[in-house]
Amino acid sequence: MALIKEKRLLRAPDVFYFRIEAPLISKKARPGQFVIVRLHDKGERIPLSLADIDADGGTISLIVMAVGKTTAEFTAMQPGQDVLDLCGPLGNPTEIEKAGKVVLVGGGFGTAPLYPIAKAFKNAGSEVVTVMGARSKDLLIYEKEMLSVCDRVLVATDDGSKGIKGLVTNALKAELEQAPADLVIAIGPVVMMRAVAETTRPLGTKTVVSLNPIMVDGTGMCGGCRVTVGGETRFACTDGPEFDGHLVDWDVLMNRQRKYIPEQKHSFEQWKTKHAGVVCE
């Protein structure tokens, strides 16, 4: 059981910040890792990235975007309630080293897990630039947090309501053309990570992506999270979640993520009819 200590609406209507009591996990967790939660005894196990780690306070933070039944149920929970199962830290931490210039690219909730990574690179003495994107400025999350730990934050919006008008990859390309980076890390929707990898490929910039296939156990036991990287089958939960973006077989990943769409819709629709009034996309 893990107590929810704090909850904030991060982006209306469906993205929430949670701070959760996890004394042991917070001591061990490193940027780039994730946890698996199960909300109740009929619940599914879902992976969520660490958006912040506070070892002294004994808490971890998660950003949850309601996209289906379990995430919607989570975002309906309140401080004082308990998450039944919280398992972690899982996956390998981001390799943090003084890397000259690091460019972090975030999309969707992906900017949140980049926050502890940005902090760590900054502490290691790197120059850290973040490029974040969304459809419009109201959909950006974690901009303030990123500003507090990065040298620069570049914003790209589809509608031009903030920063440059266009995709994150446009902003990234411009940034890299100005001054090359030693490392690019992208976290976000698969289409975005794929586009980032294609942008950096011709430049030969080392590009790390954090893959998010569907998972069950998160410990290397089921193989459901398998991805193809460099022609080999790897398990995202134990070999990743971070991989070399230039070696990932994106088609395989995108196909596998679609696996349960009919079942997920069915379960979510049922939940929504029982919980009318809860807002999600």
Binding site: L24, K42, R45, T219, G220, R256, Q264, H266, S267
Partner: protein
């Protein structure tokens, strides 16, 4: 022994009542219903009470078989259960899942001419009788020794080790990675072979004996072995061999292709068969292909059938006689209508435009039958390719060692394939005070051998913590134990 010799021995085992195949193939209820007291006593009457009971030599934990059978014959079931429990803590499990035909029953004297005594069924009967007697008696535990032992993994090996150590008065904590304790007994072996209530009861018993069970604790990630060594007097690693293998053939990443572990975990641990009441989904195919021939393959095939599949085919590269699964399960699978594509091997998995599997292409194998010289390597017959229609494919071609612990503890000696190197008699590893056993040492084996290893390790740990455990200092690590 005072039991009189039977006049005439029935050549056949006393049949065990079972759910009829046509019914059970669509439900998750147990297949075998168990002996009545009369049937048990009758079967016990077939035992010759041998002076040199060879059956016992076939049992990895040495259950005093003739003694407990004699008690069954006299309908003294209380004595029977006490006798079994001298050697085996989980008879309700072993009676159901031990491959008896390779163990105790293989060596039974009767087996030379007739069916062997149905030792497994009798063991199961006695354990079920015990469970029907109402509340569990919490075994007496010795006075506290003040020693603390950590156990990693809550499968049969870890549970057994915990039981023995708790009984000896040690303070035991079990760490389990998943949210539920039991290992393969809860996430792998399905309800129709091993009701989950049996395992739950054993775990409840351990808790009442004072054992602490910490779930959601992935050792190597949340806590390292090194930290355990600092906080405990000793440690037993029993993490199983849960890493699924794939075949590396084209199409293996199509949707609808599962490892047996994933398929069974979704259904047994996450209860996907009750979706959407439970949140975890599983693809319910109409044409299922299972690749492999062991217990895991058989369990996957029969589970898929119970989810409502029209046709389930098992693809195995050798012949029927060589299927490594328990004989009884093969028999049950055939009765339930599982289609066996024997002497066949998959070469690729085909998919449709939607990225979902549509068929498995297989090739027939030559030399797939065993010859006198041992196992010949089956060879594909050129041009014999054929396709089996499939919307779900389950790969059950074996598992390996999970590398998490080995990765986080470099001083622990492991084999090339990441199995932990441990002494066969004591479970001792290269790290002082750290023991290991079960599938993580032997590779996938059996429930009873994993339990046996847990028991041997418990005895060794008991000696160690009482006699030479000043907290294990790194400098005191011993040279790596050699596997015999």
């Amino acid at each position: 022994m005072e039991t009189p010799k039977p006049q005439k021995i029935s050549p056949k085992k006393t049949p065990i009542p079972e759910q009829p195949p046509q019914e059970r193939r669509r439900n998750f209820g147990e297949v075998a219903l168990g002996y009545s007291e009369e049937q048990a006593a009758q079967e016990a009457g077939r035992c010759l009470q041998c002076k040199k009971p060879l059956c016992v030599t076939g049992c990895p934990v040495g259950v005093p078989i003739p003694r407990f059978i004699s008690a069954v014959r006299q309908k003294d079931f209380k004595r029977a259960i006490e006798t079994i429990k001298e050697a085996n803590l989980l008879p309700a499990v072993c009676g159901r899942v031990c491959p008896q035909e390779n163990q105790c029953e293989k060596f039974c004297t009767l087996a030379k001419k007739f069916d062997p005594v149905a030792i497994g069924r009798l063991e199961r009967f006695v354990a079920d009788w015990d469970r029907s007697q109402g509340s569990v008696q919490v075994p007496e535990t010795a006075a506290s020794t003040g020693k603390r032992v950590a156990i990693v993994g809550s499968g049969p090996s870890g549970l057994t080790c915990a039981y023995d150590l708790a009984k000896l008065g040690h303070n035991v904590t079990i760490y389990e990675a998943l949210h539920e304790a039991g290992g393969v007994l809860v996430y792998g072996i399905p309800e129709f072979r091993l009701p989950k209530a049996i395992v739950a009861r054993e775990i409840e018993l351990l808790k009442r004996m004072g054992v602490t069970i910490v779930t959601n604790a992935v050792i190597g990630k949340l806590i390292t072995i090194e930290e355990i060594r600092q906080q405990f007097d000793a440690c037993y690693i029993a993490t199983g061999a849960g890493l699924p293998r794939f075949m590396n053939i084209p199409g293996e990443n199509l949707n609808g292709v599962y490892s047996a572990n994933e398929f069974l975990t979704r259904i047994n641990l996450m209860r996907a068969y009750q979706f959407p009441e439970y949140d975890t989904p599983v693809k319910q195919g109409s044409h299922i292909v299972v690749v492999g021939g062991g217990n895991v393959a058989m369990d996957s095939a029969r589970t898929a059938l119970r989810l409502g599949a029209e046709e389930v085919s098992l693809v195995y590269r050798r012949s029927l006689a060589e299927l490594p699964a328990r004989k009884e399960e093969v028999h049950h699978a055939l009765e339930e209508g599982i289609n066996m594509e024997l002497c066949s091997n998959p070469v690729r998995i085909l998919g449709g435009d939607n990225g979902h599997v549509t068929a498995v292409e297989c090739v027939r194998m030559d030399l797939c039958e065993l010859d006198d010289s041992g196992r010949k390597k089956p060879k594909p017959i050129e041009g014999s390719e054929f396709q089996v229609k499939a919307d779900v494919v389950i790969i059950a071609v074996g598992t390996g060692a999970n590398p998490l612990i080995a990765q986080s503890e470099r001083n622990l000696t492991v084999t090339k394939h990441k199995y932990i190197v441990a002494d066969e008699e004591t479970g001792k590893t290269s790290l002082r005070g750290v023991y290991a056993g079960g599938d993580i040492v032997t590779g996938s084996a059996t429930v009873i051998s994993a339990m046996g290893a847990g028991r041997k390790a418990a005895a060794a740990i008991h000696e160690f913590v009482l006699h030479d455990s000043q907290l294990p200092a790194k400098s005191a690590d011993e040279p790596p134990a050699r596997k015999k």
